[in-house]
């Protein structure tokens, strides 16, 4: 329904390939990010969807250089506008964060400082990266607050975070993320705790931001319905890997991975009202010392002996729209045939 941006989308602004993040635990290694690859273009929105513990936040933190010991990014490449940012020193990373690439956290208090007034925090965020006077900076703060629907910004700027409701705090955190119009925003379930009416309003502002400033947005969520309404592209994550990716229409309508289909089928609206919901049997595997092979095989109705080998993320064959088929990829030895995905 919304117009697509007329901005150049030739080269992706963020290109992640083979990203691997490991945590050393007492009894082995946890691999929450296990060879993750994707790219996002300017003005586009990519949904990163998966269940709790699948590694979505860790992927975001890895890109932002926010992984602390005992965790470590051990492999892969992160190109921001063609430049490798993996392994940059702390100072260069700080220069990038907020300015070129920003993250909105699930808990807004990870962004906000409880003992500083909002104006202090927002002005500092601007002045850390740009040489602007306090007055000019405050004008931008007001504009950003208005953009996320905070009325009477002047009064609000003089408040402390605790004087806001949870939803308002999250909107302030979003305002801070968009202050410097970064090239990339990684939003980690920022609306999950909010009500649908407020969520819808924030999504409207994010769409507008991408359209008007060409910001590329990665929207992390466990809710496929939100992705359906918001994103251009989607990556489905399971046990630290991307198991399927492609355009929203490809992934939701020509679903190729049995796990994606399982997720879709458990959504109540895809089931007759009042009837039992179709559920995925079993539970997500522990990521500690995960055995090789397809991590979904224990829960999968299509699993065979082949599935003991790692499947590769490969283009879906026999796709109806051939031009797009290279962009629809699945990591499965027995991908579902398109057209029978319900």
């Amino acid at each position: 329904m919304s117009q697509q941006p007329a901005l150049s989308t030739a080269t992706p602004v963020l290109q992640v390939s083979g990203l691997e993040t490991h945590f050393a635990a007492r009894n082995g290694i946890v691999k929450p990010v296990n060879g993750v690859s994707f790219s996002v273009s300017r003005g586009k929105i990519m949904g990163l969807v998966g269940e709790s513990g699948s590694g979505k936040s860790m992927t975001g933190y890895s890109i932002m250089g926010l992984i602390d010991a005992p965790g470590k990014v051990v492999g892969g490449s992160i190109l921001l506008d063609g430049r490798e940012v993996r392994g940059l020193d702390a100072e260069s990373l700080r220069a990038l964060r907020g300015n070129r690439i920003a993250m909105i956290f699930q808990d807004p208090m990870m962004t906000l400082n409880p003992v500083l007034r909002i104006d202090t925090q927002m002005v500092e965020a601007i002045q850390a990266h740009e040489d602007v006077g306090r007055h000019a900076a405050l004008d931008r703060c007001r504009a950003a607050l208005a953009q996320v629907g905070i009325a009477s910004p002047d009064q609000r700027l003089k408040s402390y975070p605790h004087q806001f409701s949870g939803g308002m705090r999250q909107r302030v955190a979003i305002a801070i993320a968009i202050l410097l119009k970064p090239d990339v925003i990684i939003a980690d379930e920022p609306t999950t705790a909010l009500d649908v009416t407020i969520q819808g309003q924030i999504l409207a502002e994010m769409q507008k931001l991408c359209r008007e400033s060409g910001t590329a947005l990665i929207w992390i969520t466990h809710d496929l319905s939100v992705i359906a309404g918001l994103a251009d592209q989607v990556c489905v994550m399971y046990a630290g890997r991307i198991v399927e990716r492609g355009s929203v229409d490809d992934v939701l309508d020509s679903t190729a991975h049995p796990y994606t289909l399982g997720l879709l089928n458990s959504v109540p609206s895809r089931n007759p009202r009042g009837q039992r919901l179709r559920q995925i049997p079993g539970m997500t595997p522990s990521l500690l010392n995960l055995a090789p092979g397809c991590p979904f095989r224990e829960r999968c109705a299509h699993a065979t002996r082949e599935c003991l080998e790692d499947p590769l993320l490969e283009p879906v064959l026999g796709h109806p729209t051939d031009a797009a088929s290279a962009a629809h990829q699945v990591s499965c030895h027995h991908p579902l045939q398109t057209g029978i995905s319900t």
């Binding site: 308002m168 009500d195 309003q201 319905s225 309404g229 609206s269 009042g274 039992r276 559920q279």
Partner: protein, 333 residues
């Protein structure tokens, strides 16, 4: 229709004490004081035996408070609560105890509501033994049976809550509520913290148990898709008041109240692709200081002068349907 549980003209007011953040703020001169919240404001609701009523509304609108009032965990600041047609305030101690066991609650936060130092067999088995529902020596069998009922391995009884996943903990909370053989259960965001695949398992369990034990539910959820799937009737709350009540099919097909309409139009839906979301209008009001007249008027596209000053009554708009909006009653002018 005689109601299993009914509350009439019920209100709950809280004095909002200062939290740690506010106290820190005061050190910096924020000058915050205690305030009164009208968490639930003159609400009436009757739930029939065997019915599933969905309770929906924004965060902080008073859903949990109303649920706690319904099961008797909160006293009523005003109004009455009836169980099987009898005023709870008029019952003898014995009758009160029986009525209390008959209504149970499954809490919003499965992490906080299970005592981390208790083993599962005590979490589930203690209340039925104390209340003489099972003899102490049959407790283990009773707990094992309940664990099986909710789809857990009966060998889990000796474990502690932290040894379970979110979905398993939710099931333990359900088993605990079932243990005292209730007729009526308030499920407060019982699946909100769960992933869709686990959520599907738990929702299936609720539907199975309803059939098996003829349970009546007040199902609190902010997820309109879940409520639509389960509920026979839906109640919409806004800032402490009920703004609409209707049978599920009717409310989804033809919402009456402007707030219900806004809510339903924003529900994420797998079939709506790259939709244009509606930008922010108005501000979400604080429950501490709700707007006068119709609480919704600052955000309502139909609001007129009357809406700012006069509270609309909850009135019948069709057979079995109630809504509180001046548009149904002579207009907003």
């Amino acid at each position: 229709m005689s109601a299993l549980l009914e509350i009439r003209g019920a209100s709950k007011r809280f004095v909002k004490r200062l939290d740690a953040a506010a106290k820190i703020g005061n050190l910096f001169g924020a000058g915050l004081r205690e305030e009164v919240v009208h968490a639930v404001d003159k609400v009436s609701l009757a739930i029939a035996p065997g019915e599933v009523v969905g309770l929906v509304g924004e965060s902080g609108c008073g859903k949990s408070t109303l649920g706690r009032m319904a099961v008797g965990l909160h006293s009523l600041t005003e109004g009455v609560r009836l169980y099987k047609g009898r005023d709870m305030a008029s019952l003898s101690a014995q009758e009160t105890k029986a009525a209390q066991l008959g209504v149970q609650m499954i809490f919003q936060d499965p992490y906080a509501s299970l005592n981390p130092r208790m083993r599962v067999d005590d979490i589930i088995g203690e209340a039925p033994v104390v209340h003489g529902i099972v003899p102490a020596r049959q407790k283990s069998d009773y707990v094992a049976d309940l664990l099986t009922q909710v789809g857990l391995d009966d060998g889990f009884a000796r474990r502690f809550p932290h040894q379970f996943s979110g979905g398993q903990r939710a099931r333990i909370g359900i088993a605990r509520a079932l243990a005292v053989k209730p007729e009526f259960i308030v499920c407060d965001e019982a699946v909100a913290a769960l992933d869709v695949s686990i959520q599907a398992q738990v929702l299936n369990l609720f539907m199975d148990l309803r059939e098996r034990f003829h349970l009546t539910y007040l199902f609190i959820s902010h997820d309109l898709g879940v409520v639509r799937h389960l509920a026979d009737r839906v109640v919409i709350m806004y800032l402490g008041r009920i703004v609409e009540i209707a049978p599920t099919d009717a409310i989804y097909a033809d919402p009456n109240h402007p707030y219900t309409r806004a809510l339903l139009s924003e529900v994420p839906d797998l079939t709506k692709r790259r939709r244009a979301y509606i930008p922010i209008r108005g501000e979400i009001p604080s429950p501490l200081n709700p707007p006068g007249g119709c609480h919704f008027h600052p955000r309502c596209e139909h609001a007129g002068p009357r809406c700012a000053v006069e509270q609309p009554a909850l009135r019948e708009v069709a057979q079995g349907r109630l809504a509180a909006c001046h548009l149904n009653d002579g207009g907003t002018g």
